[in-house]
Symmetry: C2
Subunit: 253 residues, 2 copies
Protein backbone atom coordinates (compact mmCIF):
# COMPACT_ATOMS: atom_id res chain seq x y z
CA UNK A 1 0.00 0.00 0.00
CA UNK A 2 1.25 3.46 -0.87
CA UNK A 3 1.14 6.07 1.87
CA UNK A 4 -0.78 9.28 1.30
CA UNK A 5 1.84 12.02 1.08
CA UNK A 6 1.82 14.52 3.96
CA UNK A 7 0.04 17.76 3.17
CA UNK A 8 2.04 20.72 4.50
CA UNK A 9 -0.06 23.63 5.66
CA UNK A 10 0.54 27.23 6.63
CA UNK A 11 -1.59 29.98 8.12
CA UNK A 12 -1.23 33.70 7.53
CA UNK A 13 -1.93 36.32 10.18
CA UNK A 14 -2.35 39.83 8.78
CA UNK A 15 -1.81 42.41 11.52
CA UNK A 16 -2.94 46.01 11.25
CA UNK A 17 -5.74 48.46 12.00
CA UNK A 18 -5.33 49.85 8.48
CA UNK A 19 -6.73 46.63 6.96
CA UNK A 20 -9.66 46.40 9.40
CA UNK A 21 -10.57 50.06 8.91
CA UNK A 22 -10.80 49.56 5.15
CA UNK A 23 -8.13 52.21 4.54
CA UNK A 24 -5.68 49.75 3.00
CA UNK A 25 -6.57 46.96 0.57
CA UNK A 26 -4.59 43.88 1.62
CA UNK A 27 -2.30 42.49 -1.04
CA UNK A 28 -0.34 40.02 1.07
CA UNK A 29 -2.89 37.20 1.22
CA UNK A 30 -2.73 36.60 -2.54
CA UNK A 31 1.05 36.93 -2.80
CA UNK A 32 1.76 34.70 0.21
CA UNK A 33 -0.76 32.11 -1.06
CA UNK A 34 0.82 32.02 -4.50
CA UNK A 35 4.34 31.78 -3.09
CA UNK A 36 3.38 29.02 -0.62
CA UNK A 37 1.91 26.93 -3.40
CA UNK A 38 5.23 26.95 -5.26
CA UNK A 39 6.88 25.69 -2.04
CA UNK A 40 4.41 22.77 -1.89
CA UNK A 41 2.65 24.27 1.13
CA UNK A 42 -1.09 24.87 1.25
CA UNK A 43 -2.44 28.10 2.77
CA UNK A 44 -5.08 26.64 5.07
CA UNK A 45 -6.42 29.76 6.81
CA UNK A 46 -5.98 33.49 7.16
CA UNK A 47 -6.86 35.82 9.99
CA UNK A 48 -6.74 39.60 10.13
CA UNK A 49 -6.47 41.26 13.54
CA UNK A 50 -5.82 44.83 14.68
CA UNK A 51 -2.85 46.25 16.54
CA UNK A 52 -3.89 44.70 19.87
CA UNK A 53 -1.60 42.36 21.77
CA UNK A 54 -4.31 40.05 23.15
CA UNK A 55 -5.82 39.51 19.69
CA UNK A 56 -2.41 38.79 18.15
CA UNK A 57 -1.40 36.38 20.94
CA UNK A 58 -4.63 34.39 20.64
CA UNK A 59 -4.35 34.11 16.86
CA UNK A 60 -0.64 33.22 16.90
CA UNK A 61 -1.17 30.38 19.35
CA UNK A 62 -4.25 28.99 17.58
CA UNK A 63 -2.66 29.10 14.14
CA UNK A 64 0.89 27.93 14.85
CA UNK A 65 -0.33 24.89 16.76
CA UNK A 66 -2.35 23.42 13.95
CA UNK A 67 -0.24 24.35 10.93
CA UNK A 68 3.31 23.50 9.94
CA UNK A 69 4.11 27.17 9.46
CA UNK A 70 2.66 30.50 10.49
CA UNK A 71 3.44 33.69 8.59
CA UNK A 72 2.58 37.15 9.86
CA UNK A 73 2.60 40.43 7.95
CA UNK A 74 2.62 43.89 9.49
CA UNK A 75 3.55 45.56 12.75
CA UNK A 76 7.34 45.16 12.68
CA UNK A 77 8.21 48.80 12.01
CA UNK A 78 9.61 51.51 14.30
CA UNK A 79 6.45 53.18 15.64
CA UNK A 80 4.31 52.72 18.75
CA UNK A 81 1.63 50.77 16.83
CA UNK A 82 4.20 48.13 15.76
CA UNK A 83 3.72 45.50 18.44
CA UNK A 84 4.06 42.22 16.53
CA UNK A 85 7.45 41.25 18.03
CA UNK A 86 6.22 41.74 21.60
CA UNK A 87 2.96 39.90 20.94
CA UNK A 88 4.65 36.91 19.28
CA UNK A 89 7.21 36.72 22.12
CA UNK A 90 4.32 36.75 24.61
CA UNK A 91 2.54 34.02 22.65
CA UNK A 92 5.69 31.88 22.69
CA UNK A 93 6.40 32.65 26.34
CA UNK A 94 9.86 34.05 25.64
CA UNK A 95 11.46 37.43 26.23
CA UNK A 96 12.40 40.09 23.70
CA UNK A 97 16.08 40.75 22.99
CA UNK A 98 18.11 42.96 20.68
CA UNK A 99 19.47 40.75 17.89
CA UNK A 100 23.13 41.75 17.37
CA UNK A 101 23.10 41.08 13.62
CA UNK A 102 19.86 43.04 13.19
CA UNK A 103 21.41 45.92 15.10
CA UNK A 104 24.48 45.82 12.86
CA UNK A 105 22.28 45.77 9.73
CA UNK A 106 20.33 48.80 10.98
CA UNK A 107 23.53 50.67 11.94
CA UNK A 108 24.86 50.20 8.41
CA UNK A 109 21.52 51.06 6.78
CA UNK A 110 21.00 54.25 8.79
CA UNK A 111 24.66 55.36 8.75
CA UNK A 112 23.87 57.61 5.77
CA UNK A 113 20.26 58.24 6.82
CA UNK A 114 20.57 60.16 10.10
CA UNK A 115 21.83 57.36 12.34
CA UNK A 116 20.21 54.81 14.62
CA UNK A 117 17.73 56.34 17.10
CA UNK A 118 15.44 54.75 19.68
CA UNK A 119 12.57 54.16 17.24
CA UNK A 120 14.84 52.56 14.64
CA UNK A 121 16.53 50.37 17.25
CA UNK A 122 13.07 48.89 17.98
CA UNK A 123 13.43 47.10 14.64
CA UNK A 124 16.38 45.08 16.01
CA UNK A 125 14.17 43.61 18.75
CA UNK A 126 13.26 39.92 18.27
CA UNK A 127 11.72 37.15 20.35
CA UNK A 128 14.48 35.23 22.17
CA UNK A 129 15.93 32.48 19.99
CA UNK A 130 14.94 34.08 16.68
CA UNK A 131 16.81 34.13 13.36
CA UNK A 132 16.61 36.88 10.76
CA UNK A 133 14.96 36.88 7.34
CA UNK A 134 16.94 39.03 4.88
CA UNK A 135 15.26 42.23 3.69
CA UNK A 136 16.58 43.24 0.30
CA UNK A 137 14.34 46.30 -0.03
CA UNK A 138 14.95 48.34 3.12
CA UNK A 139 16.87 48.05 6.38
CA UNK A 140 14.85 46.11 8.93
CA UNK A 141 14.98 42.32 8.55
CA UNK A 142 12.12 39.86 8.98
CA UNK A 143 12.23 37.37 11.83
CA UNK A 144 11.89 33.60 12.15
CA UNK A 145 11.24 32.02 15.54
CA UNK A 146 10.20 28.38 15.79
CA UNK A 147 7.65 27.86 13.00
CA UNK A 148 6.59 31.53 12.97
CA UNK A 149 7.78 33.94 10.27
CA UNK A 150 7.35 37.66 10.91
CA UNK A 151 7.34 39.72 7.74
CA UNK A 152 6.73 43.34 6.77
CA UNK A 153 3.30 44.74 5.95
CA UNK A 154 4.38 46.72 2.88
CA UNK A 155 3.79 44.22 0.03
CA UNK A 156 6.98 45.00 -1.91
CA UNK A 157 9.09 44.38 1.20
CA UNK A 158 7.13 41.22 2.00
CA UNK A 159 7.83 40.02 -1.54
CA UNK A 160 11.58 40.41 -0.99
CA UNK A 161 11.41 38.45 2.27
CA UNK A 162 9.44 35.64 0.60
CA UNK A 163 12.01 35.58 -2.16
CA UNK A 164 14.77 35.17 0.44
CA UNK A 165 12.89 32.22 1.96
CA UNK A 166 12.28 30.47 -1.37
CA UNK A 167 13.39 26.85 -1.28
CA UNK A 168 14.31 26.91 2.42
CA UNK A 169 11.10 25.39 3.82
CA UNK A 170 10.12 21.76 3.73
CA UNK A 171 6.95 21.20 1.72
CA UNK A 172 5.11 18.57 -0.25
CA UNK A 173 3.84 18.39 -3.79
CA UNK A 174 2.71 21.72 -5.20
CA UNK A 175 -0.93 21.95 -6.21
CA UNK A 176 -1.27 22.15 -9.99
CA UNK A 177 -4.21 23.80 -11.69
CA UNK A 178 -5.89 24.17 -15.06
CA UNK A 179 -8.63 26.62 -15.95
CA UNK A 180 -11.45 26.13 -18.43
CA UNK A 181 -13.74 29.02 -19.32
CA UNK A 182 -17.24 28.81 -20.76
CA UNK A 183 -20.04 31.26 -21.54
CA UNK A 184 -22.56 29.47 -19.36
CA UNK A 185 -24.35 30.34 -16.12
CA UNK A 186 -22.70 28.04 -13.57
CA UNK A 187 -26.18 27.11 -12.33
CA UNK A 188 -26.88 25.31 -15.62
CA UNK A 189 -23.98 22.89 -15.34
CA UNK A 190 -23.73 22.38 -11.56
CA UNK A 191 -24.40 18.65 -11.96
CA UNK A 192 -21.65 18.24 -14.54
CA UNK A 193 -19.13 19.92 -12.21
CA UNK A 194 -20.06 17.79 -9.22
CA UNK A 195 -20.02 14.53 -11.19
CA UNK A 196 -16.72 15.31 -12.92
CA UNK A 197 -15.01 16.10 -9.62
CA UNK A 198 -16.43 12.95 -8.03
CA UNK A 199 -15.23 10.78 -10.93
CA UNK A 200 -11.61 11.97 -10.53
CA UNK A 201 -10.31 11.26 -7.06
CA UNK A 202 -7.72 13.77 -5.93
CA UNK A 203 -9.20 16.58 -8.02
CA UNK A 204 -11.14 19.64 -6.88
CA UNK A 205 -13.13 21.88 -9.20
CA UNK A 206 -13.88 25.49 -8.27
CA UNK A 207 -16.49 27.51 -10.14
CA UNK A 208 -15.97 31.27 -10.53
CA UNK A 209 -18.84 33.04 -12.27
CA UNK A 210 -18.65 36.47 -13.86
CA UNK A 211 -20.75 38.95 -15.82
CA UNK A 212 -18.93 40.51 -18.75
CA UNK A 213 -20.00 42.25 -21.95
CA UNK A 214 -23.58 41.67 -20.86
CA UNK A 215 -23.09 37.90 -20.80
CA UNK A 216 -22.89 35.32 -18.04
CA UNK A 217 -19.87 33.06 -17.93
CA UNK A 218 -17.67 31.16 -15.53
CA UNK A 219 -14.13 29.92 -15.20
CA UNK A 220 -13.71 26.45 -13.77
CA UNK A 221 -10.43 25.81 -11.97
CA UNK A 222 -9.37 22.18 -11.63
CA UNK A 223 -6.75 21.51 -8.95
CA UNK A 224 -4.75 18.34 -8.22
CA UNK A 225 -1.25 17.43 -7.08
CA UNK A 226 -1.04 14.52 -9.56
CA UNK A 227 -0.50 15.82 -13.13
CA UNK A 228 -2.25 12.78 -14.63
CA UNK A 229 -5.36 13.28 -12.47
CA UNK A 230 -5.33 16.97 -13.39
CA UNK A 231 -5.12 16.27 -17.12
CA UNK A 232 -7.82 13.59 -17.06
CA UNK A 233 -10.23 15.68 -15.00
CA UNK A 234 -9.68 18.76 -17.21
CA UNK A 235 -10.23 16.71 -20.37
CA UNK A 236 -13.42 15.21 -18.95
CA UNK A 237 -14.79 18.64 -18.03
CA UNK A 238 -13.89 20.09 -21.42
CA UNK A 239 -15.66 17.21 -23.16
CA UNK A 240 -18.67 17.54 -20.85
CA UNK A 241 -19.02 21.27 -21.46
CA UNK A 242 -18.73 20.85 -25.25
CA UNK A 243 -21.36 18.07 -25.11
CA UNK A 244 -23.86 20.73 -23.98
CA UNK A 245 -23.34 22.43 -27.33
CA UNK A 246 -21.23 25.30 -25.94
CA UNK A 247 -17.74 26.49 -26.74
CA UNK A 248 -15.30 25.90 -23.88
CA UNK A 249 -11.91 27.56 -23.64
CA UNK A 250 -8.86 25.83 -22.11
CA UNK A 251 -6.92 28.50 -20.20
CA UNK A 252 -10.10 30.28 -19.24
CA UNK A 253 -11.93 33.33 -20.49
CA UNK B 1 -20.20 60.08 35.64
CA UNK B 2 -20.82 59.61 31.94
CA UNK B 3 -21.01 56.08 30.66
CA UNK B 4 -18.61 54.94 27.98
CA UNK B 5 -20.73 54.38 24.87
CA UNK B 6 -21.00 50.77 23.74
CA UNK B 7 -18.63 49.83 20.91
CA UNK B 8 -20.44 47.68 18.34
CA UNK B 9 -18.26 45.12 16.65
CA UNK B 10 -18.54 42.83 13.67
CA UNK B 11 -16.43 40.02 12.25
CA UNK B 12 -16.11 39.04 8.61
CA UNK B 13 -15.65 35.45 7.46
CA UNK B 14 -14.44 35.18 3.85
CA UNK B 15 -15.21 31.70 2.49
CA UNK B 16 -13.54 30.26 -0.58
CA UNK B 17 -10.66 28.16 -1.88
CA UNK B 18 -10.07 30.80 -4.57
CA UNK B 19 -8.85 33.32 -1.97
CA UNK B 20 -6.59 30.82 -0.16
CA UNK B 21 -5.08 29.58 -3.43
CA UNK B 22 -4.10 33.13 -4.40
CA UNK B 23 -6.16 32.93 -7.59
CA UNK B 24 -8.54 35.69 -6.52
CA UNK B 25 -7.55 38.91 -4.78
CA UNK B 26 -10.12 39.55 -2.05
CA UNK B 27 -11.94 42.86 -2.33
CA UNK B 28 -14.65 42.28 0.25
CA UNK B 29 -12.62 42.99 3.40
CA UNK B 30 -12.04 46.63 2.45
CA UNK B 31 -15.58 47.26 1.24
CA UNK B 32 -17.25 45.60 4.22
CA UNK B 33 -14.90 47.47 6.60
CA UNK B 34 -15.68 50.83 5.01
CA UNK B 35 -19.41 50.16 5.00
CA UNK B 36 -19.43 48.98 8.63
CA UNK B 37 -17.70 52.14 9.77
CA UNK B 38 -20.49 54.26 8.29
CA UNK B 39 -22.96 52.13 10.30
CA UNK B 40 -21.02 52.88 13.50
CA UNK B 41 -19.79 49.29 13.73
CA UNK B 42 -16.12 48.40 14.07
CA UNK B 43 -14.69 45.50 12.06
CA UNK B 44 -12.85 43.66 14.83
CA UNK B 45 -11.50 40.61 13.01
CA UNK B 46 -11.49 38.77 9.71
CA UNK B 47 -10.93 35.13 8.91
CA UNK B 48 -10.53 33.42 5.56
CA UNK B 49 -11.31 29.71 5.32
CA UNK B 50 -11.68 27.29 2.43
CA UNK B 51 -14.75 25.44 1.22
CA UNK B 52 -14.72 22.96 4.13
CA UNK B 53 -17.67 22.56 6.45
CA UNK B 54 -15.70 21.93 9.65
CA UNK B 55 -13.56 25.03 9.13
CA UNK B 56 -16.60 27.21 8.44
CA UNK B 57 -18.53 25.87 11.44
CA UNK B 58 -15.63 26.52 13.82
CA UNK B 59 -15.10 30.06 12.55
CA UNK B 60 -18.81 30.93 12.55
CA UNK B 61 -19.25 29.86 16.14
CA UNK B 62 -16.09 31.59 17.38
CA UNK B 63 -16.85 34.85 15.61
CA UNK B 64 -20.60 35.22 16.14
CA UNK B 65 -20.27 34.61 19.87
CA UNK B 66 -17.90 37.48 20.54
CA UNK B 67 -19.15 40.08 18.09
CA UNK B 68 -22.48 41.83 17.68
CA UNK B 69 -22.61 40.82 14.04
CA UNK B 70 -20.97 38.29 11.77
CA UNK B 71 -20.85 38.75 8.01
CA UNK B 72 -19.81 36.02 5.59
CA UNK B 73 -18.95 36.36 1.92
CA UNK B 74 -18.82 33.52 -0.59
CA UNK B 75 -20.19 30.04 -1.02
CA UNK B 76 -23.90 30.82 -1.52
CA UNK B 77 -24.07 30.02 -5.24
CA UNK B 78 -25.55 27.02 -7.08
CA UNK B 79 -22.56 24.68 -7.39
CA UNK B 80 -21.24 21.78 -5.31
CA UNK B 81 -18.51 23.93 -3.72
CA UNK B 82 -21.12 26.36 -2.32
CA UNK B 83 -21.62 25.00 1.20
CA UNK B 84 -21.99 28.13 3.31
CA UNK B 85 -25.73 27.67 4.01
CA UNK B 86 -25.26 24.10 5.22
CA UNK B 87 -22.24 25.00 7.34
CA UNK B 88 -23.93 28.00 9.00
CA UNK B 89 -27.03 25.90 9.70
CA UNK B 90 -24.81 23.24 11.26
CA UNK B 91 -23.04 25.90 13.36
CA UNK B 92 -26.39 27.22 14.60
CA UNK B 93 -27.79 23.72 15.17
CA UNK B 94 -30.77 24.25 12.87
CA UNK B 95 -31.98 22.53 9.72
CA UNK B 96 -31.92 23.80 6.15
CA UNK B 97 -35.23 24.69 4.49
CA UNK B 98 -36.37 26.11 1.15
CA UNK B 99 -37.37 29.75 1.76
CA UNK B 100 -40.65 30.32 -0.14
CA UNK B 101 -39.89 33.95 -0.99
CA UNK B 102 -36.38 33.06 -2.19
CA UNK B 103 -37.89 30.35 -4.38
CA UNK B 104 -40.40 32.83 -5.84
CA UNK B 105 -37.57 35.34 -6.52
CA UNK B 106 -35.53 32.67 -8.32
CA UNK B 107 -38.57 31.49 -10.32
CA UNK B 108 -39.15 35.02 -11.56
CA UNK B 109 -35.45 35.64 -12.22
CA UNK B 110 -34.92 32.42 -14.19
CA UNK B 111 -38.31 32.52 -16.02
CA UNK B 112 -36.56 34.12 -19.02
CA UNK B 113 -33.23 32.41 -18.37
CA UNK B 114 -33.98 28.71 -18.90
CA UNK B 115 -36.09 28.05 -15.80
CA UNK B 116 -35.38 26.84 -12.28
CA UNK B 117 -33.32 23.63 -12.14
CA UNK B 118 -31.90 21.67 -9.23
CA UNK B 119 -28.69 23.70 -9.00
CA UNK B 120 -30.53 27.01 -9.07
CA UNK B 121 -33.04 25.86 -6.46
CA UNK B 122 -30.08 25.33 -4.10
CA UNK B 123 -29.93 29.12 -3.86
CA UNK B 124 -33.37 29.17 -2.17
CA UNK B 125 -32.04 27.01 0.69
CA UNK B 126 -31.58 28.85 4.01
CA UNK B 127 -30.95 27.95 7.64
CA UNK B 128 -34.29 27.52 9.45
CA UNK B 129 -35.60 30.85 10.74
CA UNK B 130 -33.69 33.00 8.26
CA UNK B 131 -34.75 36.20 6.52
CA UNK B 132 -33.60 37.34 3.09
CA UNK B 133 -31.23 40.16 2.14
CA UNK B 134 -32.31 41.74 -1.17
CA UNK B 135 -29.97 41.21 -4.13
CA UNK B 136 -30.35 44.03 -6.65
CA UNK B 137 -27.67 42.71 -9.02
CA UNK B 138 -28.70 39.12 -9.77
CA UNK B 139 -31.30 36.60 -8.65
CA UNK B 140 -30.20 34.83 -5.50
CA UNK B 141 -30.75 36.79 -2.27
CA UNK B 142 -28.43 37.04 0.73
CA UNK B 143 -29.52 35.55 4.03
CA UNK B 144 -29.81 36.82 7.60
CA UNK B 145 -30.15 34.34 10.47
CA UNK B 146 -29.71 35.51 14.08
CA UNK B 147 -26.71 37.86 14.01
CA UNK B 148 -25.17 36.18 10.95
CA UNK B 149 -25.39 37.77 7.48
CA UNK B 150 -24.58 35.56 4.48
CA UNK B 151 -23.56 37.51 1.42
CA UNK B 152 -22.25 36.79 -2.05
CA UNK B 153 -18.57 36.43 -2.88
CA UNK B 154 -18.66 38.51 -6.08
CA UNK B 155 -17.81 42.04 -4.82
CA UNK B 156 -20.35 43.90 -6.97
CA UNK B 157 -23.16 41.67 -5.67
CA UNK B 158 -21.89 42.01 -2.10
CA UNK B 159 -21.97 45.79 -2.56
CA UNK B 160 -25.65 45.67 -3.51
CA UNK B 161 -26.48 43.55 -0.45
CA UNK B 162 -24.61 45.94 1.85
CA UNK B 163 -26.50 48.80 0.26
CA UNK B 164 -29.79 47.04 1.02
CA UNK B 165 -28.73 46.67 4.68
CA UNK B 166 -27.65 50.29 5.09
CA UNK B 167 -29.25 51.90 8.11
CA UNK B 168 -30.95 48.69 9.29
CA UNK B 169 -28.38 47.61 11.90
CA UNK B 170 -27.92 49.08 15.34
CA UNK B 171 -24.51 50.67 15.75
CA UNK B 172 -22.67 53.26 17.77
CA UNK B 173 -20.70 56.34 16.86
CA UNK B 174 -18.83 56.05 13.58
CA UNK B 175 -15.06 56.33 13.78
CA UNK B 176 -13.87 59.59 12.23
CA UNK B 177 -10.42 60.00 10.76
CA UNK B 178 -8.02 62.63 9.52
CA UNK B 179 -4.83 62.01 7.59
CA UNK B 180 -1.63 64.06 7.69
CA UNK B 181 1.18 63.32 5.25
CA UNK B 182 4.84 64.20 5.68
CA UNK B 183 8.07 63.49 3.79
CA UNK B 184 9.76 61.90 6.78
CA UNK B 185 10.93 58.39 7.62
CA UNK B 186 8.44 57.30 10.31
CA UNK B 187 11.38 56.07 12.35
CA UNK B 188 12.52 59.68 12.89
CA UNK B 189 9.32 60.84 14.54
CA UNK B 190 8.17 57.70 16.37
CA UNK B 191 8.38 59.52 19.71
CA UNK B 192 6.22 62.40 18.49
CA UNK B 193 3.52 59.97 17.33
CA UNK B 194 3.46 58.04 20.59
CA UNK B 195 3.37 61.17 22.74
CA UNK B 196 0.69 62.86 20.67
CA UNK B 197 -1.56 59.82 20.84
CA UNK B 198 -1.00 59.51 24.59
CA UNK B 199 -1.83 63.19 25.17
CA UNK B 200 -5.24 62.84 23.46
CA UNK B 201 -7.37 60.19 25.14
CA UNK B 202 -9.75 58.49 22.73
CA UNK B 203 -7.45 59.01 19.75
CA UNK B 204 -5.38 56.44 17.86
CA UNK B 205 -2.63 57.30 15.39
CA UNK B 206 -1.60 54.86 12.69
CA UNK B 207 1.61 55.31 10.71
CA UNK B 208 1.72 54.16 7.07
CA UNK B 209 5.14 54.59 5.46
CA UNK B 210 5.79 54.62 1.73
CA UNK B 211 8.61 55.05 -0.76
CA UNK B 212 7.73 57.28 -3.70
CA UNK B 213 9.71 59.29 -6.24
CA UNK B 214 12.85 58.04 -4.51
CA UNK B 215 11.81 59.62 -1.21
CA UNK B 216 10.64 58.24 2.09
CA UNK B 217 7.37 59.52 3.51
CA UNK B 218 4.45 58.47 5.64
CA UNK B 219 0.78 59.18 6.10
CA UNK B 220 -0.43 59.41 9.67
CA UNK B 221 -4.08 58.54 10.22
CA UNK B 222 -5.69 59.89 13.37
CA UNK B 223 -8.90 58.14 14.44
CA UNK B 224 -11.45 59.07 17.11
CA UNK B 225 -15.21 58.94 17.57
CA UNK B 226 -15.28 62.41 19.20
CA UNK B 227 -14.84 65.14 16.56
CA UNK B 228 -13.26 67.51 19.11
CA UNK B 229 -10.67 64.93 20.16
CA UNK B 230 -9.95 64.21 16.49
CA UNK B 231 -9.45 67.89 15.65
CA UNK B 232 -7.22 68.57 18.67
CA UNK B 233 -5.06 65.51 18.11
CA UNK B 234 -4.65 66.27 14.39
CA UNK B 235 -3.73 69.89 15.14
CA UNK B 236 -1.17 68.79 17.74
CA UNK B 237 0.43 66.34 15.31
CA UNK B 238 0.51 68.91 12.51
CA UNK B 239 2.19 71.42 14.82
CA UNK B 240 4.63 68.79 16.07
CA UNK B 241 5.64 67.73 12.56
CA UNK B 242 6.12 71.34 11.44
CA UNK B 243 8.22 72.01 14.56
CA UNK B 244 10.77 69.52 13.16
CA UNK B 245 11.25 71.90 10.21
CA UNK B 246 9.32 69.78 7.71
CA UNK B 247 6.31 70.49 5.58
CA UNK B 248 3.25 68.50 6.66
CA UNK B 249 0.15 68.07 4.52
CA UNK B 250 -3.38 67.85 5.98
CA UNK B 251 -5.29 65.31 3.90
CA UNK B 252 -2.18 63.23 3.35
CA UNK B 253 0.30 62.81 0.53
Amino acid sequence: MSETPKVWTAALLVIGDEILSGRTQDKNVAQVATWLNVQGIRLAEVRVVGDEEAAIVEAVNALRARNDYLFTTGGIGPTHDDITVDAVAAALGVGVVIHPEARAILERYYATRGGLNEGRLRMARVPHGADLIPNRMSGAPGIRVDNVFLMAGVPSITAGMLDALTGTLEGGLPVLSETIGCWVPESEIADLLRQTEKAHEGSAIGSYPFFREGRTGANFVIRATDPAVLAECAEALLTGLRATGREAFPGGI
